[in-house]
């Protein structure tokens, strides 16, 4: 049946049959089955309020059947619109295929085309799905700005869908993005929002939300709050849930160490090693050891640092080159050699860490590692070595965000250079750096 020769009544019958519904089901309690029959046979006109009642009934049944489909009253009243829903399905298929084929390149026209299609028809369920898929694609393409943009759009539109299932999954993806892009307050807000408003979150996901919440507080250096949230996370996470439990214990250990509670820190890591060894995961063992060494650096226990150092170096070889953690592990091991006074080895690891941070999802890595490298060059009086890597790092430095206050500082330094007053410039920089560090 094509749109051109279809009436509203026929359209309603078509939708009903597409979802295998009976007339009495879509009539519900507010209209009669007889009225539905008259409407479908075009013997009586349908008004918007009746279309609204029918769509509510359809959506309730589809929700009970576990289908994430949302039929709007306009879909009933406009046959052309219902056909366009099938077009939307084609977009969804195409985007899903892109994800499967790892084809993440988009022309701006293609994105504009999708946006204008969605804006023309405003299919709420399809919009949510398509924006979430676009978020997934940009997540895989490591384009965190666009990833955030599309997940946020999906989340916003989801509030127009009263039967929306699994909204918490979109929120979780946004939380992940916010933590990696250092929007910690927003990550915390989103976690709290999900935990307090979404009543269909399964326990294992609740545990994950509490864990991410703890990670948000950790990054804000609010270690007590972090530990509180980790306690809640543990309540929801079963012992067999290795991956989450591993992350919880690791964060707990680091947190204790940050508040100088070293015994508790080592106790968390001992529990962690028990969990990890049972699962024999080299990367996780490497991470645990490397964090344990950092505790010994904090307590200035050189013997223990030396004892664990060789173990970690062996395990680093076993870490996957594409591992999320690799730049951080290399940065951390560089710190070990720095502590031991082996500056050349520290530099080697920092340079490796810097290179592997260039194309990483975690945007905070590059500045952190580059900072460590500059500190090392400053300490060893070897700033000239920066020339070897400057070409690789300048494109990233050019993209650093500069706010008004920072622009003023740069402007002052610029003026001092122009006036050939290097001492004033140096004094200003030292003064500001002292304040920061």
């Amino acid at each position: 049946m094509t749109t051109k020769n279809i009436t509203i009544g026929q359209n309603i019958r078509r939708i009903r049959k597409d979802f295998n519904l009976r007339q009495y089901e879509i009539a519900g309690e507010d209209v009669t089955r007889n009225l539905i029959s008259l409407i479908e046979n075009d013997k009586t006109p349908i008004y918007h309020n009746v279309a609204n009642i029918i769509s509510v009934n359809i959506n309730r049944i589809l929700y009970e059947r576990g289908l994430d489909i949302y039929i709007q009253p306009e879909d009933l009243l406009n046959p052309e619109r219902y056909d366009a829903r099938k077009e939307a399905n084609k977009y969804i298929e195409k985007l899903t295929k892109r994800l499967e084929e790892k084809n993440y390149e988009f022309q701006i026209e293609e994105l504009n085309h999708i946006e204008s299609f969605l804006n023309k028809w405003n299919f709420i369920d399809k919009k949510i799905k398509i924006y979430e898929l676009l978020g997934d694609i940009f997540y895989n393409a490591k384009d965190s700005n666009r990833e955030y943009y599309y997940y946020l759009k999906a989340l916003e539109i989801s509030y127009e869908h009263p039967f929306m299932k699994d909204r918490y999954k979109i929120i979780l993806k946004l939380v992940y993005n916010c933590i990696l892009t250092e929007k910690f307050d927003e990550a915390i807000r989103l976690c709290n929002f999900a935990l307090s408003t979404q009543d269909n979150i399964p326990d294992k996901y609740k545990g994950v939300f509490y864990y991410n919440l703890a990670l948000g507080y950790y990054n804000k250096h609010e270690y007590d709050r972090c530990l509180e949230e980790l306690t809640k996370a543990k309540y929801y996470i079963e012992e067999e849930n290795y991956r989450v439990l591993n992350s919880i214990l690791m964060l707990e250990g680091i947190c204790h160490s940050n508040i100088k509670n070293f015994d508790s820190a080592l106790s968390s890591f001992t529990k962690l090693l028990d969990v990890i060894k049972a699962n024999n995961a080299p990367e996780d063992i490497c991470l645990a050891y490397i964090n344990i060494i950092q505790i010994h650096i904090d307590t200035n226990n050189r013997e223990k640092v030396l004892e664990f150092k060789d173990k970690v170096v062996d395990y680093i070889e076993k870490v996957d080159k594409n591992s999320f953690y690799l730049p951080k592990i290399l940065n951390s091991i560089a710190n070990v050699f720095h502590y031991l006074g082996e500056y050349e080895v520290a530099e080697k690891y920092l340079l490796e860490a810097l290179l592997s941070s260039l194309d990483h999802k975690d945007t905070s890595l590059f500045p952190e590692i580059f900072w460590q490298l500059l500190k090392l060059y400053e300490e060893t009086n070897s700033f000239h070595k920066i020339n070897d890597i400057i070409a690789d790092v300048m494109p990233i430095i050019y993209n650093f965000q500069i706010n008004k206050e920072f622009a003023i500082i740069l402007k002052l330094i610029y003026i001092y250079i122009k006036q050939d007053r290097p001492l004033d410039a140096t004094y200003l920089i030292e003064k500001l750096l002292d304040k920061e560090v």
Binding site: I297, D298, H338, P367, F383
Partner: protein
């Protein structure tokens, strides 16, 4: 010329000072990553 190089590096250092930093001699921890997966079986 030397002065200019020194200034350039000082500016770089200043830029980086805005990031979260850790002094040498202190532990540089590797915190676990956030968790995002929506595939239920992953958990």
């Amino acid at each position: 010329m030397k002065k200019k190089v020194l200034l350039f590096l000082s500016i770089l250092t200043l830029l980086l000072s805005l990031s979260n930093t850790v002094l040498a001699g202190k532990g540089v921890f590797v915190p676990p990553a956030p968790i995002r997966e929506s595939i239920e079986d992953e958990f």
